[in-house]
Symmetry: C2
Subunit: 160 residues, 2 copies
């Protein structure tokens, strides 16, 4: 379980598709426009998302992508695993060379913490993120205030 901007891009894009895909497929060009993510990069990401059964594609004019499953059944973990693929960095590479020292803790330890984080990210569904996003959009609309400066909370302080 890795956590980089790559996975975040993917999650953002998935939310976009969920938000705007209510009637007909969403084109990557539109996602690219709205989310300011490079089209070619999106193509790469959606290739993986499609191969992992998270989205389905429709070719030709009027085509695009739509979700393959309901938003309640898609978790953040699903999306991140789809684009970030393998990664598992326990020293001993899974088994063998824990050699003489029987307390080669690394493996067990990270398996445990990985599981923790994985379980958490698995508990966050796309549906929740979409709902959360829609609420925030509502607030913005109701306030009729543009510009990000007026954020009542400062959540980015936690991201430092």
């Amino acid at each position: 379980m890795r956590l980089t901007t790559k996975g975040r891009f993917a999650v953002t894009a998935m939310i976009d598709v969920a938000l705007y895909g209510t009637n007909g497929p969403v084109t990557l060009a539109a996602v690219s426009e709205r989310q300011k993510i490079s089209l070619s990069y999106l193509e790469q990401l959606f290739g993986k998302l499609r191969r992992h059964g998270l989205v389905e594609s429709v070719r030709g004019p009027g085509g695009g992508y739509h979700l393959a499953r309901g938003t309640e059944t898609v978790s953040v973990a699903d999306i991140i695993l789809a684009v970030d693929e393998p990664i598992d960095a326990t020293q001993c590479g899974g088994a063998e060379n824990c050699h003489d020292d029987r307390r080669c803790m690394t493996h067990e330890l990270w398996a445990g913490l990985n599981e923790h984080i994985f379980t958490f990210l698995r508990s966050v569904t796309l549906a929740e993120l979409v709902r959360q996003q829609q609420q925030k959009a509502d607030v913005v609309v109701l306030k009729d205030h543009r510009g990000p400066a007026a954020a009542p909370r400062t959540p980015e302080s936690a991201a430092r």
Copy 2:
């Protein structure tokens, strides 16, 4: 909040120091030996950990590193932030260029999810990981004696 092997190395090393640092400082050479992490790489990581007030160093023979704070007050998030430093990958880089589209969701969205993950990693203390690790060590020692290891069998760690 990023999550890579670098941070994992740091957490692993911190647990090692917590486990073996009950009487006197732990040398990086020893950590390197046990955890199979390159000594020079550890030097880099502990430089950061020290500058962030997570460990203290003792020079000269018999020296090494020891924890600067109790294991209960150190979270996984603390350690990861210490070695992974800045990172904040919201498209709009914090503010400005959300431009015309007022629903530049990325910022709020990731701030929120970041906060979630951060809160979670903050809730996992070094003490817990050490305890967990000791239990697993016990299981290995006791072999086929499963269960929650009722008798606190701690090899050389007097704990407190």
